[in-house]
């Protein structure tokens, strides 16, 4: 690990993304690292009445709010990035120079796809660095 531990975290407005961002911030405080929070958006999966500009600005607002909610109390360098594309592609690309890529799991289930989520599974298969999956917590 380098002196500046570079952590990329996937944020998507869900509880899993929130857990991932919280852990990434805590880890960055502890290790003296930085956090790059990444959110992807796609116009073709949004409501047909929304313009691409609306979808993008909604994603930007969500990401800002998520960071503000959790990051306000820390001194960590946090950068935010909203990128158009498939979530798995965006996250794998964002992790190119990262030490860790952090994702939230979808919850407790014996079904692998449900536990990890199809996006997370695809990311783990392609990521250029170790992937940290934050569990839903003790039952």
């Amino acid at each position: 690990m380098g002196d500046r531990h570079r952590i990329v975290v996937g944020v998507d407005g869900t509880e899993g993304g929130r857990r991932a961002l919280g852990w990434a911030l805590h880890e960055a405080v502890t290790r003296g690292g930085s956090v790059r929070a990444v959110m992807s958006w796609r116009w073709d999966t949004a409501s047909p009445t929304d313009s691409s500009e609306t979808v993008r600005s909604d994603a930007e607002r969500t990401l800002r709010e998520e960071i503000a909610q959790q990051g306000a109390a820390t001194d960590v360098a946090v950068s935010a990035e909203v990128v158009e594309g498939r979530a798995a592609d965006v996250l794998v690309h964002a992790a190119k120079d990262a030490d860790l890529l952090v994702l939230g799991s979808h919850g407790h289930s014996r079904v692998y796809h449900t536990v990890l989520g199809s996006t997370a599974q695809e990311v783990v298969e392609s990521a250029p660095c170790p992937v940290v999956v934050i569990p839903a917590g003790p039952r």
């Binding site: 290790r31 860790l100 952090v102 014996r110 783990v124 992937v131 940290v132 999956v133």
Partner: protein, 151 residues
């Protein structure tokens, strides 16, 4: 850099090629952060520490012995025990710890999907998946004790 207080890095050793990468990352994390390393392997009819690990995976045992020499005996714990790998790993890793497992192999998830699925469903702490596709970076190579420094 410091690790969260009393953190354990719990790593599953499965006795095949992907173990080298997973163990190298775990050892490097331990060296860097000052956490305690816990090496876990589930084996039928086998129980013990470094001697038992040598019977299961000589290369892994060499790396763990090197890590012990560098970090001290009390910083590296080895648990070889009968039972399910998932049960052992989940039991040993508390909420403040890190669990380190091998991710997909070059041929996919088939070899370890069962254990990963089981651990992901029950883990009390973050789970780090180290893929076989991941190239060991120079900073990990320089931190992890031999023989993984030549991996």
């Amino acid at each position: 850099m410091t690790a969260p207080t009393n953190r354990h890095v719990v790593v599953g050793v499965v006795g095949h090629a992907g173990t080298a990468r997973t163990l190298a990352w775990a050892i490097s994390e331990t060296v860097t952060t000052g956490a305690q390393l816990v090496v876990v392997h589930a084996a039928h009819g086998l129980r013990g520490g470094l001697g038992a690990l040598q019977m299961v995976d000589r290369s892994a045992a060499g790396a763990v012995a090197a890590a012990r020499a560098r970090l001290g005996d009390t910083s590296v714990r080895i648990i070889i025990s009968p039972g399910s790998p998932g049960d052992l790993l989940v039991r040993e890793a508390g909420p403040d710890d890190l669990l380190v497992l091998g991710g997909p192999t070059r041929s996919g998830w088939s070899e370890r999907a069962g254990t990963v699925r089981d651990v992901m469903a029950r883990a009390r702490c973050p789970v780090i998946l180290v893929s076989e596709q991941w190239e060991l970076p120079v900073n990990v190579l320089s931190t992890a004790p031999r023989p993984w420094s030549r991996a």
